[in-house]
């Protein structure tokens, strides 16, 4: 197991090199640094000296090769430096933002997982009836609604018309629940279509297995078959399919966080996009890649743990 994990980590190195190469090409060879400087100096009209100073400070006045070296070094040591827009150390912002992002993200994730599993069981239980048909159709319907429309509509209905949750904002601790309420509903609805369809297929596949027939033959009731035997076995593909996305929860939701004013990593990225803060976006791209690779490794490992037939070699 340990050897496998080490090999996976080593395997990640060339990918990370590729990603940082790509980001360097993207960010250093295509944008004019003067433009960035001008925007980021909080003056109505900065003087050339001020711009020069800014460029110097952020290392944009150095030759390409040196920039490249610095870029690679910074990323691999996870020294992301300061934000281009605010001058703040990026790690400081990440430290503040990761908490809310992870809390909100994992609440949405858990709610979605719970709803999806119970709904797919419900659908599987009533398979072949009008409920099955309508649930699948509604799933596709919910899938086809735009996320932006969800946010606008969700906030308007729940927070303005029904006054059940705050319009926007965030507090840590148990009060976070009321702020996360609307994003949670939206997150569940937007993903329900494709996930329930997938889970339903998985569950139905299990239902047709021999052991289920044996259980039935022994006189086990239908509900018990479904919830005891089928669910247990279907859980393996379901759980492994979701593990990949867990580390990415740290990055937060770009749209959700900015729309509902959750001070997480997602809204930080959103601001970086709006202000063309390349330092932050660069850091986020790299961090996202690392988290994604961690997610993949976790998936493999969890699969091995959940299913003894799988051997990691």
């Amino acid at each position: 197991m340990l050897r496998y994990v080490i090999r996976r980590i080593l395997y990640a190195v060339p990918i990370l090199i590729g990603v940082s190469l790509l980001t360097f090409l993207l960010f250093y060879c295509t944008v004019s640094p003067e433009g960035m400087a001008r925007r980021n100096l909080s003056a109505k009209n900065p003087t050339p000296q001020q711009i020069q100073g800014w460029l110097h400070e952020h290392g944009y006045d150095k030759p390409r090769s040196e920039q490249f070296k610095k870029h690679m070094r910074e990323l691999f040591l996870l020294r992301f430096g300061n934000s281009d827009a605010s001058g703040e150390p990026i790690w400081d912002r990440l430290r503040v933002g990761i908490g809310p992002s992870f809390l909100v993200g994992s609440l949405i994730f858990l709610a979605a997982l719970l709803t999806d599993i119970s709904l797919s069981l419900y659908v599987a239980y009533y398979r072949g009836t009008y409920l099955d048909y309508w649930a699948t159709f509604l799933g596709v319907l919910f899938m086809s609604i735009n996320y932006v429309v969800y946010m606008i509509g969700g906030q308007w209905i729940v927070s303005k018309l029904l006054r059940l949750a705050p319009l926007a904002g965030y507090e840590s601790g148990p009060t976070a629940l009321k702020f996360v309420f609307v994003p949670m509903i939206i997150g569940v609805l937007a993903g329900i279509g494709s996930t329930v369809r997938f889970y339903r297929t998985v569950i139905l596949e299990e239902i047709n297995q021999d052991y289920v027939r044996t259980a039935r033959a022994k006189g086990v009731g239908e509900q018990q078959v479904l919830f005891r035997h089928v669910l247990k076995n279907a859980a393996i593909p379901i759980l492994t399919s979701t593990v990949t996305s867990i580390p990415l929860l740290l990055l937060g939701g770009l749209l959700t966080e900015s729309f509902f004013n959750i001070p997480g990593v997602g809204s930080m990225t959103f601001d970086a996009i709006q202000s063309q803060d390349f330092a932050v976006i660069r850091a986020m791209v790299f961090l996202g890649t690392i988290l994604y690779i961690i997610g993949l490794t976790l998936t493999d490992i969890s699969y091995a743990i959940a299913d003894p037939r799988v051997r990691l070699e």
Binding site: P14, I15, G18, V19, L22, T23, L26, F27, T30, V31, V140, L141, M143, S144, I145, N146, Y147, V148, V149, I152, W156, R197, R200, T201, L204, L248, L251, L254, L255, T269, F270, I273, Q274, Q276, F278, I281, M284, V285, G288, T289, Y292, I293
Partner: protein, 350 residues
């Protein structure tokens, strides 16, 4: 500096008025014709004939297809046009649906503007009302069709050949080539999609074509992986060996023999991918990275309508029109994609 006619739509070159008219129309007509010919010709092959038969029996699929065709024809009609008296290029849709401009918001079928201190009488009736500067919302929604179709279509035109080429080459040659291709797409795939997209758009700048390029580059990985896996399966099949024995070159084997066998899976993937692309446009517009102004798009309309729900009376029609138009198209593509999958590949049936 002064340009006498509208800048030619398909490439940024200027032509004389008649020639540019011809060219402007030839391209969309050609694309429509090509698509129709492809569909009809495919129907002669046994696999597709069978699929068509299955599709025809599926009522949902037929309705979805009609909806998609409707959107496509609006988009096509919006791409066909000629210069008017002022020398401005106007499409068929412009000519039929462009309504006189009003001063301000007005509700569907209303007679007066709404929300102004002193309401004005409207110059015409508007099916879906007007927006803040008095543009007809229905007309704008129709204009969005073309943008959506171009985003979906162009992106797929960029990403599909890319994906197929690399996928087949990697699968066919294996070894070093395979490693290289796998490396490239693993790197691309490791960056979370939205971040890669955003970075590319920040660098490329705003605009319809930039958006298509960025989406194309970010969206080819899935299909590439699929076609690589499929090619691996086909590589050692009888028919490939036979072709090789008959002295066919690598290129011929890959693109004359293997490629047709990948088409079903390509078609299913692209159909299901289309709806995702249309939705992404709206998300990017929210991030202010959309197609930019001057190009009517549903994403722009939704983004603009973001502030309108707080008005009193509520201005719902812009948001409603754009999101419904997008919803129906995406729903149709999703339902049709599902039906197509069931029809072409019975193994995949759920």
């Amino acid at each position: 500096m002064l340009s006498p006619t509208r800048v030619c739509d398909w490439n940024n070159m200027q032509f004389s008025a008649t020639f540019s008219n011809l060219l402007n129309n030839a391209l969309p007509c050609g694309i429509v014709a090509l698509v129709l010919i492809a569909i009809v010709r495919a129907g002669r092959t046994p696999l597709w004939a069978e699929a068509y038969r299955r599709l025809r029996r599926n009522r949902v699929a037929v309705i979805s297809l009609i909806v998609i065709a409707l959107y496509a024809s609006v988009a096509a009609l919006d791409s066909v046009g000629w210069t008017n008296a002022d020398g401005a290029w106007t499409s068929v849709i412009d000519r039929v649906f462009q309504k006189p401009q009003e001063r301000y918001y007005s509700a569907p079928f209303a007679f007066m503007t709404v929300g102004e201190p002193k309401p004005h009488r409207l110059n015409a009736r508007h099916i879906l009302g007007t927006d803040a500067i008095g543009n007809d919302v229905f007309y704008q929604t129709l204009k969005g069709c073309r943008t959506a179709m171009i985003i979906g279509g162009m992106t797929l035109l960029i990403s599909t050949p890319l994906a197929l080429f690399f996928g087949i080459v990697a699968g066919y040659f294996g070894k070093r080539v395979d490693d290289a291709v796998q490396y490239v797409y693993t790197v691309l795939n490791s960056i979370p999609d939205i971040l890669l997209l955003v970075s590319m758009l920040l660098v490329l700048g705003q605009g319809l074509w930039q958006l298509c390029v960025a989406l194309g580059i970010t969206s080819w990985v899935g299909l590439c992986r699929l076609s690589r896996a499929e090619t691996l399966k086909h590589r050692d099949r009888e028919y490939v060996r036979a072709a090789r024995a008959l002295g066919a070159g690598h290129g011929r084997i890959m693109f004359r023999h293997i490629l047709p066998n990948l088409l079903p899976i390509v078609i299913i993937t692209t159909t299901l991918g289309f709806s995702g692309l249309v939705m992404t446009e709206a998300i990017l517009s929210y991030l202010q990275l959309g197609v930019g102004e001057g190009t009517g798009s549903w994403g722009n309309m939704i983004d603009g309508a973001r502030l309108e729900l707080a008005r009193e009376p509520i201005i719902w029609w812009s948001l409603f029109a754009a999101s419904t138009a997008m919803f129906v198209l995406v729903l149709a593509f999703n339902l049709f994609g599902d039906a197509l999958r069931d029809a072409i590949d019975p193994r995949l049936r759920s």
